[in-house]
């Protein structure tokens, strides 16, 4: 599904440069649940953004489903983000002026799809925010916001779901619910790559996912692959 070969990302210029991701390679198979673990600042978000087509690496290649992200033109990369990869952020990144329903529908509308309301209702039920659809993000809890963001990431039925510490801003109960939801989505066939630095979550997922892959990061490098 994802084949990452020797990618590097450097922030800053001149003397104050940071090698956020330093010659990283790994492969995540179709239907696998990938876990990207490591301390804060180890480069997890940077690596995930590059897999999601949100950021371009300085060097190396990322191939997803046979297509090379690093060689895509901006418009093709946008289409990749729109249809192939769903992305979930730690701080949700919902549009605060749109209702939850409109936020979920947004990628479908960007894609110019004509009918998505059936799909939307089904997703809302699956993530459990049916009663909250007409509210604005600031009127609902963090857990509900994140569930809305998950539904939004899934509306265009991507084959890959990327989640950057999706439970980082949530309490334990909500975090557990979100993780169960992600596992369910993975079991239904979607490849998932999730970033976390929570050891408890990591172990829970490794026990419950059908085919987990654990990637441990430190200082921009993957020093351990288990799975």
């Amino acid at each position: 599904m994802i084949q990452v070969t020797d990618i590097t990302k450097i922030y800053g210029t001149g003397g104050a440069t940071v090698h956020a991701v330093d010659h990283v390679s790994f492969t995540l198979g179709e239907g696998q649940f990938g876990l990207l673990c490591g301390a804060s600042g180890s480069g997890k978000s940077t690596l995930l953004s590059m897999c999601g087509g949100l950021l371009r690496p300085e060097a190396g290649e990322i191939v997803v489903g046979g297509e090379n992200l690093t060689q895509m033109k901006p418009e093709a990369l946008a289409a990749y983000r729109l249809k192939r990869a769903g992305y979930i952020f730690q701080d949700f990144n919902l549009m605060k002026n749109l209702t939850l329903e409109e936020n979920i529908a947004l990628p479908a509308m960007i894609a110019g799809r004509k009918s998505y309301s059936g799909n939307l209702r089904e997703l809302a039920e699956r993530v459990g925010i049916t009663g909250r659809l007409l509210h604005f993000p600031e009127e609902v809890s963090g857990g509900e916001r994140q569930r809305c963001a998950i539904a939004r990431a899934l509306i265009n039925s991507p084959s890959l779901l990327l989640a950057d510490e999706p439970t980082g801003n949530l309490d334990a109960d909500n975090a557990a619910q979100i993780v169960r939801l992600l596992l369910e989505i993975n079991r239904a066939g979607t490849t998932v790559l999730m970033v976390t630095h929570d050891v408890g979550l990591r172990d829970y997922i490794r026990e419950n996912a059908p085919s987990p892959l654990l990637l441990n990061m430190r200082d921009g490098r993957i020093y351990e692959k288990i799975g």
Binding site: E75, M95, L98, L106, I110, R152
Partner: protein
């Protein structure tokens, strides 16, 4: 792309975002439209006046009796009009040759008819210096509009950065985001055009009708709203909006979604930290030394307009006529025959006979210098209005041609007031732009500091103290920007005064506007920082 949805939701949920841009656009439209209306009105008035006087003829010769008509046999395009002759020169004719020959013939034949040329009047109506001045003002207004809309839009995009980043990250393409931004600005521009043109038409109508029309002999201005000018304003405003959009979105296109969503972190030095430093002092100096880009924006929004305000006010102050009521004792006295001049001592003797106390000011007019004791025309201001009246009726003065200047002076005051109102409103548009921009930038900057402000509260800083911290910072920043502008403004005023060889008079027009401008900028700094900080604390 759900463009309509995004626009509708922004309008209902964050109307201030749009309202600020809308006000900016409307003020820009008004500056352009007002300028064009006053220019069109002046040209229309001048043409109407020439047409009324000349009846459409290039020359009028009068009085002419029917048996003198043979004198015109060689003149092209003439017509007899009951006691006078009107001439419209055909395009091939040489005007100076025709008028010269005709004058010669009339003189030779001993005719008492006089030739009046309206041709040059018509030409000067076509190429008036006032119209040229207004074209300059129009270009200036377009520049101000471009800069202010540009900066306002940059501030707007800054607050929408996260939304744009989200749309990108969800897979919207550059073209789609651009289409959304373009539609948004187009809608706002269209609305601003409607309101701005309407307000300008009403406002200029009022100014011209109340102050400028009926000033025949002083200025020929008749209200005129030209659809062509309106189209020009629409074109200019749309052009400015579209230029602003395309240049800004080009900058956005080079950024990745991650960059747009991230707060960029820049490493800072810590050299400002010293022992025993107060929180206020530390906060202010840290911000002044670190937020250099913000300093530049504040300075840029303050300094040029402060300097402009000082120089323009001084310039207007130079020309301010005195109040008509105070000049009721003014007359001009002409010596009838320009071959004969009055000796200064004779003039003084004449005036002393009228007012033995000598309460008058005598100023020679028309090139008479103080070393030339001969006066052909003089301007006299009396302290006592009744002395002036007795001068006008006294037998001694009847040999001289006396012109009562009083009514005309009142007209000049009205003319001055009319243009004054136009320029004051023009200036108000510019300064309202600046106020709005500055307040928006300060608001946006503090909005980016939201976390710091809330953190101060969390670690136990009182609300009033937090507000004071940020107000102090902006009072110092604003104070420095204003202080930097003062010497430059005064120096340029000095240069102008020397260049024009006119003294800068310390009157109301010179002093009041700069004082008001300083107050306006100071208010923008203090109020915007206070309001935004309070609001952020209230929102928690």
């Amino acid at each position: 792309m759900p463009i309509k949805l995004l626009i509708r939701r922004t309008f209902t949920r964050q109307p201030t975002l749009y309202i600020k841009l809308f006000i900016m656009l409307t003020l820009s439209v008004m500056m352009l439209m007002n300028t064009l209306i006053i220019r069109d009105s002046e040209r229309y008035g001048a043409r109407t006046e020439v047409l009324e006087k000349s009846g459409g003829y290039d020359y009028i010769v009068e009085p002419v009796s029917e048996d003198e008509l043979y004198l015109f046999s060689e003149v092209p395009g003439w017509e007899y009009l009951d006691g006078k002759v009107g001439i419209i020169l055909p395009s091939g004719a040489n005007p100076s040759e025709v008028s010269y020959k005709l004058s010669q013939r009339l003189k030779e034949a001993g005719s008492g008819a006089m030739l009046t040329s309206y041709r040059s009047l018509k030409e000067s109506a076509e190429f008036s210096t006032f119209a040229t001045l207004m074209v300059g003002v129009l270009i200036f207004a377009a520049g101000v509009a471009l800069v202010s809309i540009w900066l306002m839009y940059a501030a707007y995009l800054d607050t929408r950065r996260a939304d744009i980043g989200t749309l990108y990250s969800l897979g919207a393409g550059m073209k789609q985001v651009r289409a959304w931004l373009r539609r948004e600005l187009l809608v706002l521009t269209a609305a601003a055009l409607v309101l701005g043109i309407l307000l300008s038409a009403v406002f200029m109508f009022a100014v011209i009708r109340l102050c400028l029309t009926d000033l025949a002999g002083v200025t020929p201005i008749l209200y005129r709203f030209s659809p062509l000018s309106m189209l020009l304003v629409i074109g200019m405003t749309l052009g400015i909006s579209m230029a602003v959009i395309s240049l800004h979105t080009r900058r956005l296109a080079g950024m990745s979604p991650s960059e747009l969503l991230a707060d960029t972190h820049i490493p800072r030095s810590s050299k400002e930290l010293r022992d025993g430093r107060s929180l206020e002092g530390f906060f202010t100096s840290a911000s002044l030394f670190r937020d250099k880009k913000h300093n530049r924006i504040c300075l840029f929004a303050t300094m040029p307009l402060m300097v402009l305000g000082i120089v323009v006010s001084a310039h207007f102050g130079m020309y301010t006529p005195e109040d008509s009521a105070r000049r009721l004792g003014d007359v001009q006295l002409y010596v009838t025959d320009s071959e004969v001049a009055l000796h200064r001592s004779e003039a003084e003797a004449l005036l002393n006979a009228l007012d033995p106390d000598g309460r008058y000011i005598l100023t020679p007019v028309d090139g008479d210098t103080s070393d030339d004791p001969l006066i052909r025309r003089m301007h006299i201001t009396f302290a006592d209005k009744s002395v002036c009246d007795s001068l006008l009726t006294s037998e001694q003065v009847q040999v001289y041609k006396v012109k009562d200047f009083r009514a005309q002076n009142a007209d000049y005051v009205r003319l001055y007031a009319g243009f004054g109102v136009f320029f004051i409103v023009f200036g108000l548009c510019i300064y309202a732009d600046a106020f709005l921009l500055l307040a928006t930038y300060i608001g946006a900057f503090l909005e980016n500091r939201r976390r710091d402000i809330l953190l101060l509260g969390e670690i136990g800083c009182e609300e009033r103290r937090i507000v004071r911290l940020y107000m102090t910072q902006y009072a110092v920043r604003g104070g420095l920007a204003i202080l930097a502008a003062l010497p430059l403004g005064l120096a340029l005023t000095g240069v102008m005064s020397v260049g024009l060889a006119m003294p800068v008079l310390p009157n109301l027009v010179t002093i009041l506007p700069p004082v008001l401008i300083v107050a306006l900028f100071a208010a923008a700094y203090v109020l915007a920082s206070m309001r935004t900080t309070r609001q952020i604390i209230a929102e928690g």
